[in-house]
Amino acid sequence: MLFNSWIYGVFLVALLAIYGQLRTRQQNRLLLLASYFFYGWWDWRFVGLVLLSTAVDYTVAAQLDRTPANDKAARNRLLAVSIATNLGVLGLFKYFNFFVESATVALGAIGLEAHIWTLRLILPVGISFYTFQTMAYTIDVYRQKTKAVLEFELFALYVCFFPQLVAGPIERPEHLIPQLRQPRRVDADALAAGSLLIFWGLVRKVGIADVVAPAVDRAFRHPEDQTSMALAIGVVLFSLQIYNDFAGYSSIARGTARVLGIELMENFRQPYFSTNITVFWRRWHISLSTWLRDYLYIPLGGSRGGTLLTYRNLMLTMLLGGLWHGASWNFVVWGGIHGVALAAHKLVSGNRKILDNAPVRTVADGLWAASGWAFTFCLVLFAWVFFRADTFADATAVLTGIASGRGEWAWVDWSTPALMTLWVLFLDIPMYRNDDQTAVLHWPWPVRGTAYASFALLLVLLERGKDATFIYFQF
C-alpha cells in the first residue's frame, strides 16, 4: 500500500474513525492489526519475517532483562543471537547474491573459476529499516539504556508501526515506546499539523520527485548518448528527486503518526542548505545517520582513539552506511566518498565546534558560507552519480560525459529544472528559517489557503498513477 494511493487515504480515514473511539490498549491492538494489514498488502508471506524479528528480539530482550549485569558472557551470547538473527535475515535476503557474485569475480581475477549458485529471492520491503529498529532496541536493553518491554503487543507495535515500517524514520525505543504506552487523543491541532505534513509529503513526492523522474531516467539510462548539459541537469534533477521522494515519504509518515497522536523523529531538515558535509549529515536521513553514529561509529571507538582511528571509524561507518542502501559496489563508493569528505572536513575543522547554522554577520561570512554551500552541494551531487547509476561503468560514463563538454546546450529545456528548484526553495526556505517543518501554519490564512488550493491542484494534475513507488522502498 503506497502512501500516494487512494487506498491508503481510505485506509487512514477508516482507521482514524475507529481509533478516536478507543482506549490506549485497544488503540495499540488496532494499530498492530492495521500495521500487519498494511505490510501484508504487498506480500503476506513477509509478515512472517517481521514476526520472526519481533519474536527473537522480544525474547532476547526479556532474557537480557533477567540476566544480571555482571554476567557479561550470558548477556553477550543473548545479544549475539539477536544480531545474528537480524543480520542473518538481512544478509540472506539482501546481500547473499551480492557477496556470492563478488566472490566469484574476485576468484576469477586471480585465475580461479568458480561456479557458485545464487538464490532467487525477492527483497522484502522495509527489511533494512525494521531490522535496524529492532537491533537498536536489543542493543539499548543490553546497554541497560532502556528496559525490556514485557508486553508482546506493545513491542510488536514498536517494530511494525505502519507509518514508519517500510522506509523509516528508524525510531529509537526510548522515543517511540513511551508514546505507545501513553493515552493518546486525536485533537484538532494534531489533525491540522499531521494533515499538513501528509499534504507537504505528497507535494514533494507527486509534485517534484515524480515530475523530474523521467528526465533523470533518460540521463542515466544511456549516458553515452547524452550531451554534457543533459547529463549535468540529470544529476541535479536526481538530487531533487531523491531528496523530495524520501523527505516526502518521511513527511507523510510523520504526518500519519501525528494524526494518531504519535510524534516520529525528524528525518530531514533541508540538507541541501548545508554549508559543510558534517552539517549535511546532521540534516540528511537523520534517523539513519544517528543510528550509525550510536550503534556503529561510537562502538568502533568514535573519536576517542586519536586522529587516525577517528578517520578509520568514519570511513568504516560510511562504507557500511553505503552498503546498507543496497547490495552494490556503487553504494559502497557513495559511502566512501562521504566518508572521505567527512574525514577531510574533520581534519580541516580540527576541534572547533561545527555549528548547524553558523551566523552570518559580515560580507566575508556570507562569502564563506556561500562557497561552503557550493562546495558541499557539488560534492553531494558527485556522490549521487554513483548512488543513482546502475553500474560503476555507467557512473563513470556520466561523469566523463559531463566533463567532456560534448554537444550543444542551447536546446536544453530549462523550464523543468528551474521550476522544480523554485518549488523546492518555496517549500524549504520557510521551514529552514524557522527550523519547523510546519512553518506554513504560521502564514496568514489567505496565503495559506491559496497555497493549499494551488498545491492540491498541482497534485491532481501531476499524479502519475500506481507505478510511482518510493525510491527508498528498494533499500
Partner: protein, 357 residues
C-alpha cells in the same frame, strides 16, 4: 467544550470527539478558502465540455475532431469502420470506395488511438442519426480491448455515466473512474494539464491531418519494429479476459442492430513474427480470446473474421511499421481484402451501386 467557553486568541486543544465543536470555535479559514478555490475549478473548468475538446490531439479531443473532420464532412456514410489505432491506420476509406465503386465520403474510418467498444459506443450515440444510415459497420477487435488490465483512455472519464463506470470497467480503473465521477477535477486532470501546458507555451493545438486516402493520422508512423518477445509479453502476459468489457461490445452491437445496421467484427491483422510468437507462447490465452470473440459474434448473429494472422490476408512484415500498425502499403492491400470480403459476404448491406470491378 461549548463554543462560548473558548477564547478566540488561544483556543484549548480539542478532542477527536469534539472536531465539530473545534470547527465551530476555530474555523479553518485557510482550508475553507482552499476548498472554495477548488470548487471554482471543479465547477468552472472540470465540469465544462471545452476542457475535454480543446486539443484535437488529446485522447478526448480526438473524438470531437473525428466528428468534425470525418462524420461532419460526409453527407452519406454507407460503410463505417470503428476500432483502435490499428483500424485507424489499416483502413483507407478512399481505397475501399474505389474498390467498391462508391462515391467519396461513403466509407468512414472512425478508428482512434486506444479505441475500444466503449469509444465506438460513445461515438455512435453522439452521431446516431448520421451513423445509423450506414448499411454496415465493421468493428475491428483486438485482445487488448478486452483485457481487464489494459489502459483505458480518458474518454471513459469524459463520457461514462456512474452506472457504466460501475458495470463496464475493472479493478483500479473502475476505482479511479468512481473517484472521478464524484470529483471531476480528478477526471479531467489530463486535459487540464494539456490546457495549462498549451497556455504556458503559447502554442495552439493543431487540427488533425488527414491523408489522401481518408485516414486521420498524426502519430509517429515509422520506426523500428519492437522485439516480438518484449511486445508480446507486454500485450499478452498479464492478459486477463474481462467480461465487463465484452458487455460494452454487446451493448454496442445491440444498439447498432436496433437501428437496422449490419455489424461485422474483424480481428485486425498482426505482423506475422509477432503473431506467431504470441500464438506459440500464449496459446491458451490466444485461443480463449478467439473463442470469446466467436461467441460474441454468434450471440448477435454477426460475422467474425479472424485475420489475426497477417499472412491469411496476404500481408507481409513489410506492410507494418511495428507489431500491428500498417503502413500505407499495408492499408492498400488490406483494403482490397476487406472490400472483397464485404462484397462477397455482406452485399445486401452495401449500397446498390456498389460492385467489385
Amino acid at each position: 467544550m461549548p463554543p462560548s467557553s473558548t477564547s478566540s486568541s488561544s483556543p484549548p486543544p480539542l478532542t477527536y470527539d469534539g472536531v465539530a465543536v473545534a470547527l465551530w470555535a476555530r474555523p479553518p479559514r485557510a482550508l475553507l478558502l482552499a476548498l472554495l478555490m477548488l470548487m471554482v475549478v471543479e465547477l468552472g473548468v472540470a465540469r465544462q465540455d471545452w476542457i475535454w475538446s480543446h486539443n484535437p490531439r488529446s485522447e478526448t479531443g480526438v473524438l470531437d475532431a473525428i466528428e468534425r473532420q470525418s462524420i461532419g464532412a460526409s453527407h452519406n456514410p454507407q460503410l463505417v469502420f470503428m476500432g483502435s489505432s490499428r483500424t485507424r491506420d489499416g483502413i483507407a476509406p478512399r481505397v475501399l470506395e474505389q474498390q467498391l465503386s462508391l462515391e467519396q465520403g461513403a466509407v468512414l474510418n472512425l478508428g482512434m488511438t486506444v479505441g475500444t467498444p466503449f469509444d465506438a459506443l460513445v461515438l455512435y450515440r453522439r452521431n446516431r442519426e448520421a451513423l445509423s444510415k450506414a448499411g454496415l459497420i465493421a468493428f475491428g477487435v483486438e485482445h487488448s480491448m478486452f483485457d481487464a488490465n489494459a489502459y483505458v483512455s480518458e474518454r471513459a472519464n469524459r463520457f461514462a455515466s456512474l452506472r457504466e463506470r460501475l458495470l463496464w470497467f475493472d479493478g483500479d480503473t473502475r476505482q479511479a473512474l468512481l473517484v472521478g465521477w464524484v470529483w471531476r477535477t480528478y477526471d479531467a486532470r489530463e486535459p487540464m494539464r494539456l490546457y495549462v501546458q498549451s497556455r504556458l507555451s503559447g502554442k495552439q493545438p493543431k487540427a488533425l491531418p488527414m491523408t489522401d486516402d481518408g485516414r486521420i493520422i498524426w502519430m509517429r508512423r515509422s520506426g523500428k519494429a519492437e522485439d516480438p518477445t518484449r511486445i508480446s509479453k507486454k500485450l499478452w502476459r498479464r492478459f486477463r479476459f474481462s467480461n465487463r468489457r465484452v458487455a460494452v461490445l454487446d451493448a454496442l452491437i445491440e444498439l447498432m442492430q436496433q437501428d437496422g445496421v449490419e455489424v461485422v467484427l474483424y480481428q485486425v491483422p498482426t505482423r506475422n513474427r509477432f503473431w506467431s510468437y504470441a500464438r506459440d507462447k500464449y496459446t491458451h490465452k490466444v485461443d480463449r480470446y478467439d473463442q470469446q470473440m466467436q461467441a460474441v459474434a454468434a450471440r448477435h448473429g454477426s460475422r467474425y473474421y479472424d485475420w489475426q494472422d497477417a499472412k491469411s490476408v496476404g500481408l507481409s512484415d513489410g506492410h507494418f511499421f511495428d507489431y500491428g500498425h500498417m503502413r500505407d502499403s499495408g492499408a492498400r492491400e488490406f483494403g482490397r481484402v476487406m472490400a472483397t470480403t464485404l462484397w462477397q459476404g455482406h452485399r445486401d448491406h452495401l449500397p446498390e451501386q456498389a460492385h467489385l470491378p
